[in-house]
Symmetry: C2
Amino acid sequence: MVMGIFSKTCEYAIRSVFFIAHRTASGNRVGIKEIASGIDSPEHFLAKILQDLSRRGIVQSAKGPNGGFYIDERGLKRPLSEVVEAVDGNSIFTGCGLGLAYCSETNPCPLHNEFKAIRNQLKDLLEQTTIADFSESLNLGITKLRK
Amino acid sequence: MVMGIFSKTCEYAIRSVFFIAHRTASGNRVGIKEIASGIDSPEHFLAKILQDLSRRGIVQSAKGPNGGFYIDERGLKRPLSEVVEAVDGNSIFTGCGLGLAYCSETNPCPLHNEFKAIRNQLKDLLEQTTIADFSESLNLGITKLRK
DNA sequence: AAAATAAAAGAGTTTTTAGTCTTTTATTAA
DNA sequence: TTAATAAAAGACTAAAAACTCTTTTATTTT
């Protein structure tokens, strides 16, 4: 009954990539402890999420002293939709609002077209904004990532 | 990782009220077995959901022979948003997309305004359509409720 | 009144999501 | 080359959501 648009895992993923992007703009790295406390998430749980994002090349990591997570030039230009898809899959963009597997253009559920418009708007938003897009507002303290 | 807009419970709830409205337009009642098979949901699980909707007055029920569920005149005019709120609460309309409790107009998360537009669109859609609105398209067989 | 019917209620189990704890591996700096 | 550091990996536990099964209560028909 908590019910966000994304899973909690995905919320942590998005907040963490924003945080990492913001903190590693000048080539440095940031550790899991700092990220977890910076975005108010459970440390080890976030570690799992970042391991996965790392395997997928969305974030980069380095072990050992001065190691940590960072995001390379290409990563900063990635749309947010890639983060969301990596974690929650693409059903949020394509799935039927009423949970009907058959639902399609030719075989629509009662709310098919209405939901399509909303899903497309979400899709556009996530595809048009990149990970880097939010560093600026975070820098200025206009937006925040902690609870 | 299945991730619809609504919980499965809520999807069943919406599909069942559409089904009941459609089947009981002329004052008759429909039993839980028929509803469950009509919308492809687990019978006893749906029973719980309908018990709850019944307590809230969204659907009506009658025990015994010729008993079953139905929706009265007032119920048919209820907006879909009441069904959704009864089951999933209102966080879908009000919650922060990134799961941040503090997030608000004066203390926005990085995606606050973007998500607000999407949430409002969903809210409008659900508030402007009533339970009865879909009987017609179901009658014509244009839309369906089974998987 | 008894039998049949059908929802209500209660008490579970299963599955998924979220979160924790411990050990291992890689890297770096002294 | 050893000690320290930090992510990766693995094996868990906890909580929530989804689902099942059984018993009870209300209603109606015979």
